[in-house]
């Protein structure tokens, strides 16, 4: 595997399957009395979160600690970052502290790329602007595989604001690498102009897509998009692209409903759908820790040298 995990597109099929299989094994640690492995003892993992995200940060923190790594949390509020310290200077500070890995969440697409040029450790992208969120895609794939037993040939429909979604981008790349068939459903205004070049199908009619979906993944829609004329009203969006109980009934019997969170209950997803037995939203969170443990283990525990005797 690469030194960094910045884009889901960086992962070959073998890499991706290795991460999922490793996560499978590590999942069992949660059932033990001692939920810790000594594997990353002495390593330092820095959580560099420029965007507020308690859930993702805690997930990475739990993952690192379960592998016995030391965790340092660097959040944008109340640190030198708010005083206008540049990303580069922050990177140099982390270097001086000896960070083996930096997990970065940032509002600017490409921030992890830049960081990777300034630190010697591994960079894990925890979400950069509208670009990618590879560990989210990995935990989504892990969840699908757990629930439905396979990924190859699985029909996955992703619904919502694809244009601004890093989760959508990572999922399209990773799922197509793993052999799934991806369909994007959204109003044309929320799809990138060049989406035709992506490895997926595109549709505008959610009702038509649902009967053929083994997995439907709902993306969060921000109400502010209405002000930039991406859709006329929240009501119209919800009516045409929201997943309510009636639509959920259109899914095949085994069909599951996913959402990366946080949800806008009542906008893109109805409350009863989110709480239904088909919904994987809660287990996605738990799976996140195992998947992130696998990622940290595979990035940090080995050397870069080839096999030695």
């Amino acid at each position: 595997m690469n030194r960094h995990l910045i884009s889901a597109g960086d992962l070959s099929q073998d890499d991706a399957v290795l991460i999922l299989d490793t996560a499978d094994e590590l999942d069992r640690i949660a059932e033990r009395p001692v939920k810790k492995l000594p594997t990353l003892r002495g390593r330092t993992v820095v959580n560099l979160f420029y965007e507020d995200s308690t859930r993702t940060r805690i997930s990475f923190e739990a993952a690192a600690k379960r592998l016995s790594a030391d965790v340092i949390n660097f959040s944008a509020k109340g640190s030198s970052v708010t005083k206008g310290e540049s990303l580069k200077d922050t990177a140099l500070t982390l270097e001086a502290m000896g960070a083996d890995a930096v997990v970065i969440r940032h509002s600017a697409s490409g921030a992890p790329h830049r960081l990777a040029g300034w630190v010697r450790g591994s960079v894990v992208n925890a979400g950069d602007g509208a670009h990618e969120h590879p560990t989210q895609a990995l935990l989504d794939a892990f969840t699908m595989r757990r629930r439905l037993g396979r990924l190859d040939g699985l029909r996955v429909t992703i619904v919502g604001d694809v244009l601004h979604s890093r989760v959508a981008r990572s999922n399209v790349l990773l799922l197509s690498t793993l052999g799934a068939e991806v369909t994007l459903v959204a109003p044309p205004t929320l799809l990138p102009v060049a989406v035709g070049s992506w490895p997926c199908a595109v549709g505008y009619d959610l009702d038509a897509a649902l009967p053929k979906a083994d997995v439907v993944m709902m993306l969060r829609v921000q109400q502010e998009r209405m002000n930039a004329a991406y859709f006329p009203t929240v009501r119209e969006y919800s009516r045409r692209y929201g997943l309510d109980a009636a639509r959920m009934a259109l899914l095949p019997e085994h069909g599951i409903v996913m959402h990366p969170g946080p949800m806008n209950r009542g906008v893109e997803i109805a409350a009863e759908v989110a709480d239904s037995v088909r919904s994987t939203i809660v287990e996605q969170v738990a799976n996140g820790v195992s998947v992130r443990m696998a990622v940290l283990y595979l990035l940090l525990s080995g050397s870069d040298q080839g096999d030695q005797r």
Binding site: S109, H113, R169, P192
Partner: protein
């Protein structure tokens, strides 16, 4: 006074070798086997001789952003690039929208003495796009402004653009438009297309440039004025300009060296060295721009030299400043992009980088290599191929997208009205 120079063995416009005698600031004679006892001699064997280059679009940053560039450092960079005239854009601090500021810039240029600095006046006061600046006062000032531009911003209000085009007819001026519909490009970072979709950056659609150009061409025709289009970047824009010219309308256009050679693919690593406005576009666009420059639809090359300090470029993409330096690499890039593939010969380069920009800028006197003309010249060695070394640049800023790229050629000497500003590739003034 300037001395007498005998330049031997040069190849004017790339043709057969000849000697050039420079005396009292003028070209005295061109021909084989010249001699002038007492003259300083310059052996120009194998070097291409071109008229001094004219840049219609440079940002010298003074007054206001002297941390990025000054008139002194900018004109040094210009001279090293073979330029003898640069038009300094008006988006300084304060904005060059009064006679006072344009005269200040003009005077700084004369004091530095490395190349002629012709200030460009703003179209609207403060570049705010709401009312016209004192165009007449700037035209009458010592700086004799004829080219007006809000570059950096678009004059997007159609009524204001119409008024500006009409008003400058009184003194033979031209409006140079930075074509960018602000509403269609709100928050835009890169060309809108495959790259923007993949990188998760807000796109800058080609139509935001093309729609403004089409409108402005029609306005220019309607009021009988003259329009110059800054930094054309798309194939569609080239087509629109070709159409406008076919109607006999007085539309001229420029293209930057970087748009001729580079494409949006370079943005893939999120390195803001490649962030510029208008953005780098597709390979098809670059091809159309080269063809457009070759066939004359695009009149000239203009650098849009935009220096920025390191801290404004060494950041995340979205936060980085737009812009690339260009004076010191322009001729080499044009050599690589047009001369090497045989799209343009050296006579064509002289036309696109000296004669036509001088004409558009309404500068006194044509630019020809003939006896009696001002001896503003550049000697260029076409043979070396070396990587661009940004640390050796005279510009205060290092934001060139060509750093480390292998390009042909080297400017050996530059003369400004008979006085050498660059000798042996180094500043001589």
């Amino acid at each position: 006074m300037t001395g007498t120079w005998l330049i031997t063995g040069a190849r004017p416009l790339g043709r057969d070798a000849a000697d050039v005698l420079v005396r009292d600031g003028l070209i005295a004679e061109i021909g084989p086997g010249l001699d002038e006892p007492g003259a300083q001699r310059l052996d120009a064997g194998g070097l291409i001789l071109l008229p001094g280059l004219v840049d219609l679009h440079t940002h010298l940053r003074e007054p206001g952003r002297e941390d990025a560039e000054t008139v002194s450092s900018g004109t040094a960079a210009a001279a090293l690039g073979g330029y003898t005239t640069v038009h300094a854009m008006a988006n300084t601090e304060p904005v060059a929208d009064t006679a006072g500021v344009v005269e200040q810039v003009w005077r700084l240029g004369r004091e530095a003495g490395r190349c002629d600095v012709q200030p460009v006046g703003a179209v609207t006061a403060g570049l705010a796009g709401s009312r016209l600046a004192e165009l007449g006062a700037m035209a009458d000032s010592a700086a004799r402004v004829r080219v007006f531009s809000d570059d950096g911003r678009c004059v997007d209000d159609a009524v204001l653009m119409r008024r500006a085009l009409e008003y400058v007819r009184a003194f033979g001026g031209v409006i140079a438009q930075h074509a960018q519909d602000p509403r269609l490009t709100s928050g835009a970072q890169v060309n809108e297309g495959e790259i923007s979709a993949r990188l998760g950056l807000t796109g800058w659609p080609a139509v935001a440039e093309e729609a403004i150009i089409a409108r402005d061409c029609l306005l220019t025709a309607h009021v009988g004025s003259a329009l110059h289009v800054c930094h054309v970047s798309t194939a569609g824009s080239v087509e629109i300009i070709r159409w406008a010219k076919s109607k006999g309308w007085r539309v001229t256009a420029e293209v930057t060296p970087h748009h001729l050679l580079l494409t949006e693919a370079l943005a893939a690593g999120y390195d803001p060295a490649f962030k510029v406005n208008p953005p780098l576009r597709t390979a098809e666009d670059a091809r159309a721009l080269r063809a457009g420059l070759a066939d004359g639809t695009i009149d000239c090359v203009a650098t849009d030299h935009a220096p920025h300090p390191l801290e404004d470029k060494e950041t995340e993409w979205e936060v980085a400043a737009f812009g690339m330096t260009g004076l010191e690499t322009a001729l080499r890039v044009v050599h690589e992009a047009l001369v090497e593939p045989g799209l343009l010969d050296w006579a064509g380069v002289a036309d696109r980088m000296s004669a036509r920009p001088a004409a558009i800028g309404r500068l006194s006197g044509p630019r020809r290599l003939a006896p009696g003309e001002p001896a503003s010249l550049v000697l260029y060695d076409p043979s070396p191929r070396e990587a661009v070394d940004a640390t050796a640049h005279a510009s205060k800023s290092r934001n060139t997208p060509f750093a480390g790229m292998v390009l042909p050629g080297r400017v050996v000497a530059t003369f400004l009205r008979g006085r050498p500003t660059v000798l042996d590739g180094k500043l001589a003034w």
